[in-house]
């Protein structure tokens, strides 16, 4: 059974249709990449799946429609890393990461404090944040902040990770490191990843599958290599992406 199943998703803002009849699925251990130009509707799809905006159609998790799920239940199964982070108050890094355990440590089905602490430590370790755990988030760079929220989502330990441009603000070293981390994470039993990614090279290297979005519609989907063909990319980006990529590559080789 597919882990996530998005069926006929439709999102409208007034008269404007942002996402138009998009369907796709994510199976266990898959890393599905949502790609497409700016304004195509990728982040809106993520917002709809996270139940942040009203939509038509169905979003099912292991066959269950998640529209009626309680927020805590949703957070235990689906973790979302947004594109934007707000920093208004000087919280410590470890406090932000510990909030990731909210869904597990509130209510009747609390997993216990030791387990929470272990997950927080593990998340800090994975993202290399242990040395700065007591630093306040107001003093961090954009890249460091991104890692803090990534650590929060690792501490949350959901079944499905949904990442909206996870390497936003990250330099090349951390991009590589973060993608490696997510890849390892996705290979664990019972896990899967759906992410919005702009860098087509990363899609090719790490994505098992891809969904190419253009003007709110799915242009192509399936195996990443089959989706990112010259024709599909030409249609979505309205330019010869292949030619441009090759030109860039050549400059490196000269």
């Amino acid at each position: 059974m597919n882990m996530l199943e998005v069926k006929n998703l439709l999102v409208r803002y007034g008269d404007l249709t942002i996402v138009n009849d998009v369907s796709f699925s994510v199976a266990e251990n898959q890393w599905v990449m949502l790609v497409g130009p700016n304004g195509a509707g990728k982040s809106t799809i993520v917002a709809a799946i996270s139940q942040g905006i009203p939509y038509q159609g169905q979003v099912c998790f292991e066959g269950e429609n998640i529209a009626s799920w309680k927020p805590v239940h949703l957070a235990r199964n689906i973790g979302i890393l947004s594109q934007q982070h707000y920093v208004s108050y000087a919280f410590r890094v470890e406090d932000v990461v510990r909030l990731g355990r909210y869904a597990h440590s509130s209510g009747l089905f609390s997993s216990g404090d030791d387990e929470d602490q272990r997950m927080v430590e593990e998340a800090l370790e994975m993202t290399g944040l242990k040395p700065m755990r007591r630093q306040t988030i107001t003093t961090l760079s954009g890249g460091e902040l991104q890692r803090v929220f990534l650590a929060q989502i690792f501490a949350q330990n959901p079944r499905l990770l949904i990442l909206d441009e996870p390497t936003n603000h990250l330099d090349l070293v951390y991009q590589k490191q973060v993608f490696g981390l997510i890849q390892d994470w996705a290979r664990q039993p019972g896990k899967a990843v759906l992410s919005v990614v702009h860098d087509l090279n990363l899609v090719k290297s790490y994505g098992s599958d891809a969904v190419l979005i253009h003007r709110g519609k799915s242009v192509a989907q399936g195996n990443a290599a089959q989706v990112l063909t010259r024709e599909h990319l030409q249609e979505a980006y309205d330019m010869d992406v292949y030619q441009w990529m090759n030109d860039l590559l050549q400059q490196w080789q000269e």
Binding site: P71, V72, R76, S82, Y86, S88, R92, Y102, S106, Q152
Partner: protein, 346 residues
């Protein structure tokens, strides 16, 4: 969860320290005034009144027991309530300038109270009940209107939008208050006396009501300290980690409305307490609401007690309104916070 609360919150000894400071300030505030009362006289008067024993001559029982103590307790409870409300709103809206007075919620509550006085709305058997209920209802409605407007104009609820809407709303509401006053006839005096904002005439009934409101509202807000932490990092983030954002927002807003409504109906609008105290508390104990809320609670009580003391002794025998002192200190603090937060952004 319990261990986590222990790790993030204050230790028992810190609470003891807070209580000791509060009791000391309470004691000073009862002692100092137009008539100075020695600390031992306070103990004797209170003890003998509780036990129903005769009071020795020379001890001003009526001043201590029936004027100073209820006033001082009402001041402390109002300060605590307004501060914890400010801290909660600042967390909920991720906005360090949010507070009952800057958001316009206090003005809304005033309108409710003024309407109740003007139209003589009353709950039988519960003096001041109509004023209180109307103040609470109007505080809640104001909050709904202000936040609804702010969300429509600017979904990120930026500082500027909220403050602007708060100011416009306050002006609008104040104009309605003036219209009501114009038609209030012989009730004008009562309204004017009330709008000046004073806790000087508070009695034990006021203290009791403030106490109950603070117990309920304060407990709700303290219960949601973890959720407020999540909100303070961002509403989206709160939703993503599993917080029921709608429910928490609604319950926090109701708790804040009850507290502000009760405070306004008893003491009028006392501005800026909810803005200044949480800000100072945040500088001392950090932004984690498990510490910030209790620190604001105690800090607010102490701050307003000292403001009230100043109001009483600065121009002795004349007495300033407590709102004048808090506005004076608060306005300076407000500009300072605005300046610092703007400077931080640029």
């Amino acid at each position: 969860m319990l261990k986590e609360a222990k790790r993030e919150g204050f230790s028992f000894s810190i609470y003891l320290l807070f209580t000791a400071i509060l009791l000391a300030v309470l004691w000073i505030c009862v002692a100092v005034g137009s008539v100075f009362v020695t600390p031992s006289d306070i103990v004797v008067a209170v003890w003998r009144t509780i036990c129903g024993l005769p009071i020795p001559e020379g001890i001003a029982q009526s001043i201590i027991v029936f004027i100073r103590i209820p006033r001082v307790l009402a001041v402390a409870l109002s300060g605590a309530a307004l501060s914890i409300c400010g801290a909660a709103m600042q967390g909920l809206l991720r906005n360090p300038l949010a507070d009952g007075s800057t958001l316009g919620v206090s003005s809304g509550a005033s309108l409710g109270a003024v309407l109740a006085i003007a139209f003589g709305l009353n709950i039988p058997g519960f003096a001041n009940g109509g004023v209180m209920l109307m103040a609470m209802t109007f505080a809640f409605l104001s909050m709904l209107i202000i936040l609804g407007l702010a969300y429509r104009l600017d979904f990120s609820l930026s500082t500027n939008t909220i403050i602007l809407i708060g100011i416009i709303f306050s002006m609008f509401v104040n104009s309605i208050v003036n219209v009501v006053v114009t038609f209030a006839g012989e009730k004008v005096k009562t309204i004017m006396f009330w709008t000046m904002g004073s806790l000087s005439g508070s009695d034990y009934q006021d203290v009791f009501i403030l106490c109950v409101a603070l117990l309920i509202g304060g407990a709700i807000l303290l219960h949601y300290s973890r959720e407020l932490n999540a909100f303070a990092i961002g509403e989206d983030n709160a939703r993503h980690v599993g917080v029921n954002v709608r429910r928490v927002k609604l319950v926090v807003m109701i708790a804040v409305s009850i507290l502000i409504g009760v405070c306004v109906s008893i003491g009028g609008t006392i501005a800026f307490v909810g803005l200044v105290v949480p800000h100072m508390a945040r500088m001392l104990v950090g932004p984690n609401h498990r510490r910030l809320l209790p620190a604001s609670l105690f800090g607010g009580a102490v701050f307003l007690l000292l403001a009230d003391l100043l109001a009483r002794i600065l121009l002795n025998p004349l007495e300033l309104s407590i709102g004048v002192v808090t506005s004076f200190v608060g306005a300076i603090a407000f500009v300072y916070i605005f300046y610092i937060s703007r400077k931080g952004k640029s």
